[in-house]
């Protein structure tokens, strides 16, 4: 049963020297970060931080050197990623570009696209957003309605994208849209590279989330013209290109470390004095975390040798979301201290922040139900 086999990460995957370098860098850069600020890690936006990280060679690590990358392994990149998230570094300014847009452009882009964009990603200068979801197509991506019609010199795009994280500050969007008709439900789709700063007739408006924060946006394309060289990869191959991105999107440590700031707060309070029952719960939490990390690193190892572990990635994301969503419940079962948004007590503030964040963990990047549908199909359910 290969679906349930996660080969151990290759020996030497610890890369301890690199890990210590990253820790030293973060200790300095994040010295004045409060626990509450650390809790926002994945949603923290700092171009300055991303550029500094890139100067150390820790953005675009796996990209080839000729495109400004560092030709390092997926496992070395993994070490940097998990250290950033565990420390609560503000990473979203480069994260999506580094994780999936850059690798996609390298795999499918033209030489011109690679030369124009990838080095700037590796320099930590470009923020990417993902143009997939629409008002009438969330989980059902094949129902995409946004259309790019071929016109002289390029495409004319009409349609609306939603839940587009950080579109309001991003430099580029990779737009998933319809470019033709097809009998196959998954046919006729393409990906277009949209320069958000240079393109006219794109309206980006905020969608405030229930925590009161602005990450999401609605992005309206209204007769938007994109030049022919915006096409990324093959016309009509958008579906398979998107599917190959998902193993990168779904398997990383951001899929189980989202509540990590709360875990650190919880452990800090229990360190002084813990009952046997509290010890056991922390042991169970540790076991889950050790195993998730092992599985996630296993997927990094598979990516590193050119496999497409999309099914294993779906498993990691499903298990990871269950784990990170359970942390507020676990914290409440161990410590009697109310959540206080913005409170002076860091545990109370982090609990409040995390509690409001957790519903999104099993929605973003593929809902729990979609992931389980993918896993079920992988099991051979006819």
């Amino acid at each position: 049963m290969t679906l349930t086999a996660f080969p151990p990460p290759p020996s030497g995957a610890d890369h301890n020297d690199l890990r210590q370098e990253v820790r030293a860098f973060l200790a300095e850069e994040l010295a004045d970060f409060s626990p509450e600020k650390r809790a926002k890690s994945w949603n923290g936006f700092s171009r300055d931080f991303s550029r500094k990280l890139a100067q150390r060679g820790w953005v675009g690590m796996t990209f080839p050197e000729e495109y400004g990358g560092h030709a390092r392994s997926a496992l070395e990149r993994y070490v940097v990623s998990e250290e950033l998230l565990a420390a609560g570094a503000p990473v979203i300014a480069h994260w999506i570009a580094d994780r999936q847009s850059g690798p996609l452009i390298l795999a499918k882009g033209t030489e011109e696209q690679k030369r124009a964009i990838v080095p700037r990603i590796a320099a930590g200068e470009l923020c990417f957003c993902i143009g997939m979801s629409e008002p009438d197509c969330g989980s059902d991506l094949a129902a995409t309605r946004t259309v790019a019609t071929e016109v002289e010199g390029g495409f004319r795009v009409n349609g609306t994208k939603v839940w587009t994280t950080y579109a309001h500050v991003a430099d580029y969007m990779i737009l998933f849209c319809r470019t033709g008709k097809s009998d196959d439900r998954h046919g006729g789709m393409s990906q277009l590279l949209v320069d958000l700063k240079a393109t006219k007739n794109i309206q980006i408006s905020p969608i405030i989330d229930m925590a009161g924060e602005h990450h999401f946006n609605q992005v309206i394309f209204d007769d938007t013209f994109l030049p022919s060289d915006a096409l990324l990869g093959e016309k009509g191959e958008g579906w398979s290109q998107v599917m190959s991105e998902l193993a990168f999107e779904r398997s990383g440590p951001e899929r189980f470390l989202s509540s990590f700031a709360l875990i650190e707060e919880l452990i800090r309070l229990l360190r002084q004095d813990a009952t046997e029952a509290q010890q056991a719960e922390i042991g169970r939490l540790s076991a889950h975390l050790m195993v998730l990390r092992q599985m996630s690193r296993s997927v990094a190892g598979m990516l590193n040798v050119g496999k497409n572990p999309a099914l294993q990635a779906a498993i990691v994301k499903d298990l990871g979301a269950l784990f990170e969503q359970d942390i507020p419940r676990l914290a409440r079962s161990l410590i009697s201290r109310p959540a206080v948004p913005g409170g002076r007590d860091s545990y109370a503030a982090v609990l409040a922040y995390t509690e409001l964040a957790v519903p999104s963990f099993s929605l973003r990047g593929g809902t729990r139900e979609i992931l389980r549908g993918i896993i079920a199909r992988g099991l051979g359910l006819r």
């Binding site: 360190r271 922390i282 042991g283 975390l289 195993v291 092992q294 298990l319 139900e369 051979g380």
Partner: protein, 352 residues
């Protein structure tokens, strides 16, 4: 990961371990012929060095045999014999022929009576003791752990069994030991309890894979409301949950197997026993839900596997025991942050 010895074991068990054999074993009949085949193939020696009769494969691969055996519900002490031989070889003791088993550490009193060593006390829930030739355990003498090789014929065995009907016997010990039967342990390795927990985690991972496969097959074959029940989203979600738990159990067990003989073993085995036991609860419950009433019968094969995984949860330290141990380590670790504890917990140092 392709492995010749796993393939060999897979073929052997597929041909010879079937429902009748498991049922007969649960009724008390030792499958002697099958054990002879295992010995002929040399599987029981896989974890000892090549010069002592092993295959010369990495420990993690040799231990993988336990997962394969678990996947077939093998009613014989292969895992126990593998571990016992490795522990005896490590202590420089002779490797006896026949079936061996292991018992948790520190249950016996070891002392010098005159010139000879004497072991006495009581061993509870010893796996397959009545079918074994020797029991290997660890006891302290003057603060030094000693590996003991106890001949079962000189012990008093009172039969008892686990949920799956497998022998888990009570053993009374009161005998003088020769130099050939006791030697200082070469290292702690978390003792017999840790090694036992490791093999139970691996066997659980294998059994869970079989339970998942049986459940997928059943969901594809069983028709209700005019279609296979596997077409229903609720059943698909159950099976996907089972796959995730099964994958986690296997990754956990293989993480511990991969750190066999390293400093990381003490914590990885705790995580493995805890995580695989939790998976056993979830997967077992969902498998029975999917199979419906037929899966609750003696006639159906499912119970041989679910009873085993539930029994293994309690052996060589319960989940609660291992969770406490891991939690205590996390909360008392000298690391600045919990994260540093987690990354170090799987780092492979060499045990000295």
């Amino acid at each position: 990961m392709e492995s010749m010895i796993h393939d060999m074991a897979e073929r052997l068990f597929r041909d010879h371990v079937h429902h009748r054999l498991r049922a007969d074993a649960a009724a008390g009949q030792c499958p002697e012929t099958l054990w002879t085949r295992i010995e002929e193939a040399g599987l029981h020696m896989a974890l000892v060095p090549e010069e002592a009769g092993g295959f010369g494969v990495p420990a993690a691969e040799a231990l993988g045999l336990v997962r394969v055996a678990g996947a077939h519900g093998l009613p014989l002490p292969l895992a126990e014999t593998l571990i016992a031989n490795a522990v005896l070889a490590g202590a420089g003791l002779a490797l006896p022929r026949g079936r061996l088993t292991i018992a948790e550490d520190a249950a016996l009193r070891l002392e010098r009576r005159g010139g000879a060593l004497h072991a006495s006390g009581h061993l509870a829930m010893v796996p397959f003791a009545r079918w074994a030739d020797r029991i290997v355990t660890i006891a302290a003498l003057d603060g030094v752990n000693h590996v003991l090789s106890l001949p079962v014929k000189d012990l008093t065995v009172t039969p008892a069994q686990d949920l799956a009907g497998m022998p888990r016997d009570d053993v009374a010990v009161d005998l003088a030991l020769t130099d050939a039967d006791a030697a200082p342990a070469y290292r702690s390795m978390g003792g017999m309890r840790g090694l036992g927990a490791l093999v139970r985690s691996l066997a659980t991972a294998g059994a869970l894979e079989t339970i998942l496969r049986m459940s997928v097959e059943y969901a594809n074959d069983r028709v209700q409301f005019g279609r296979p029940i596997g077409k229903f989203q609720s059943i698909q979600q159950y099976l996907a949950t089972m796959a995730g738990e099964t994958a986690a159990a296997r990754a956990a067990a293989e993480m511990a197997a991969g750190s066999y003989d390293t400093a990381a073993f003490a914590l990885t085995v705790a995580a493995a026993k805890s995580r695989s036991g939790e998976a056993a609860q979830t997967v077992g419950a969902l498998a029975h839900q999917i199979h419906g009433a037929i899966g609750y019968t003696e006639e159906h094969a499912l119970h041989h596997f679910t009873k085993r995984i539930w029994s293994w949860q309690d052996e060589f330290g319960t989940e609660l025991d291992w969770n406490r141990e891991l939690g205590r380590a996390a909360l008392s670790s000298p690391h600045d942050t919990f994260w540093h504890f987690i990354t170090d917990s799987t780092a492979q140092g060499v045990l000295t």
